[in-house]
């Protein structure tokens, strides 16, 4: 069809539709869940676009929407405790630097915060934990990377070696995150998804997805060693690292069941390692 060819040759390559600051909204899509963020301040929207580069969706469709109201700098408190409660059909989320609410039945919410983008980061993490729990997934303190089409998760508390494992990853590995891994469930399979949530590495993970090969509970030692962890020990190890904000009976049950289901389908191992690149030779 020469007409079509001619048209294609005349056209510039179609560029992805970039979210415009003037529209004062942007769709951030993590784990396949698009969330529209609206704010009267275009400068803050530009900040969000920069912060979530790689996760800004060109689609206009969003399953969830939040209106952001910016508070003047200096109005935040130093309260570092996150409180997430279910009240009258809404989730209420609160910390010293933000206050947010979200109504799951309307898929809409609102956030009050200062211009610190990390406040928004925290709200998004909470919202994703709530959304994932219903689907058998979770966010977990773990670095993760894809190698040869399979995802490896390295989980542990602060200082356990999550960022170290990310830094030691070979060149052919795609880093999904060095801090917060995003785990989704599809039928009886579990997938790791890239996130913009980073730790010491200070860069977002690649926006990719792969089936999870194994989850490693990290421990530093004098030699590289892998041991299987099963049953209650595996559940305990995993639950200790799952992001767990809401003190709500129904939510606690969902997270507990998600952890039990995960360890019954994905190998959990303890990885004791010396922090050099040879540890990745064990990831087969």
């Amino acid at each position: 069809m020469p007409g079509v060819m001619a048209a294609a040759q005349r056209s510039e390559p179609p560029s992805p539709k970039q979210p415009e600051a003037a529209a004062a909204n942007v769709v951030v899509e993590i784990g396949g869940l698009p969330i529209r963020l609206r704010c009267d301040d275009p400068a803050f929207i530009r900040l969000i676009i920069e912060r979530y580069a790689g996760y800004v969706s060109s689609s206009n469709d969003a399953g969830f929407e939040f209106d952001i109201e910016l508070a003047p700098p200096g109005t935040e408190s130093r309260d570092e405790d996150v409180r997430v409660t279910w009240d009258s059909g809404r989730w209420l989320m609160e910390r010293g630097d933000f206050r947010a609410e979200w109504n799951p039945s309307t898929s809409r919410g609102r956030i009050q915060q200062t211009t610190n983008p990390y406040s928004l980061d925290s709200v998004l993490r909470i919202v994703h934990t709530l959304l994932l729990a219903r689907k058998g997934g979770f966010l977990v303190h773990a670095s993760s990377a894809i190698r040869n089409g399979r995802a490896f998760l390295f989980s542990g508390v602060s200082g356990a070696g999550k960022t170290t494992m990310a830094r030691l990853a070979p060149l052919d590995a795609a880093l999904l995150t060095d801090e917060i891994s995003y785990v989704t469930r599809q039928d009886d399979r579990y997938f790791a998804v890239g996130t913009p949530f980073f730790g010491e590495l200070a860069r977002a993970g690649e926006n990719l997805r792969a089936p999870i090969e194994a989850l490693y509970l990290l421990a530093k030692g004098s030699e590289n060693k892998i041991e299987p962890v099963a049953g209650a020990d595996a559940v305990r190890g995993l639950l200790g690292n799952i992001l767990f904000f809401a003190r709500d009976t129904e939510f606690v049950k969902l997270v507990f069941n998600a952890a039990c289901d995960f360890v019954s389908r994905v190998p959990v191992r303890r990885l004791t390692f010396v922090p050099d690149s040879r540890v990745w030779e064990l990831m087969v």
């Binding site: 279910w86 039945s105 559940v235 305990r236 639950l239 003190r247 009976t249 129904e250 507990f256």
Partner: protein, 106 residues
């Protein structure tokens, strides 16, 4: 002890049998507990309708080489501990188990 005691699992918990053990999580404070094989037998039989003494004689003593007196004493200690953490309900009357109501959380 002549008085019958009834035991029922709290509805504010999540539990899962993993091999011979049972993991129980308190939904009120997220504390995790691991029950061993014998405790799992008692836990699973704690339906609120069967007296503890009957659970011990018909379930525990039937499966394990232990006298009813010793088993009942151990079971009493166990259920008291679980009740202290809010995982079990104890009563001298049968305990009706409420149907759990799903909440419209996301």
């Amino acid at each position: 002890m002549n008085e019958k005691r009834y035991v029922a699992r709290s509805t504010a918990i999540a539990s899962r049998v993993l091999g011979d053990e049972t993991m129980v999580m308190s939904a009120t404070n997220s504390t995790l507990f691991t029950l061993d094989e014998v405790a799992t037998v008692i836990w699973e039989a704690a339906d609120g309708a069967t007296p503890l003494e009957e659970i011990v004689t018909k379930k525990v003593c039937a499966q394990y080489d232990i006298t009813p007196e010793v088993a009942l004493k151990d079971a009493e200690v166990l259920v008291e501990q679980l009740a202290e953490h809010g995982l079990l309900l104890l009563s001298d009357k049968p305990i009706a188990q409420p149907a759990s109501l799903p909440k419209g959380t996301p």
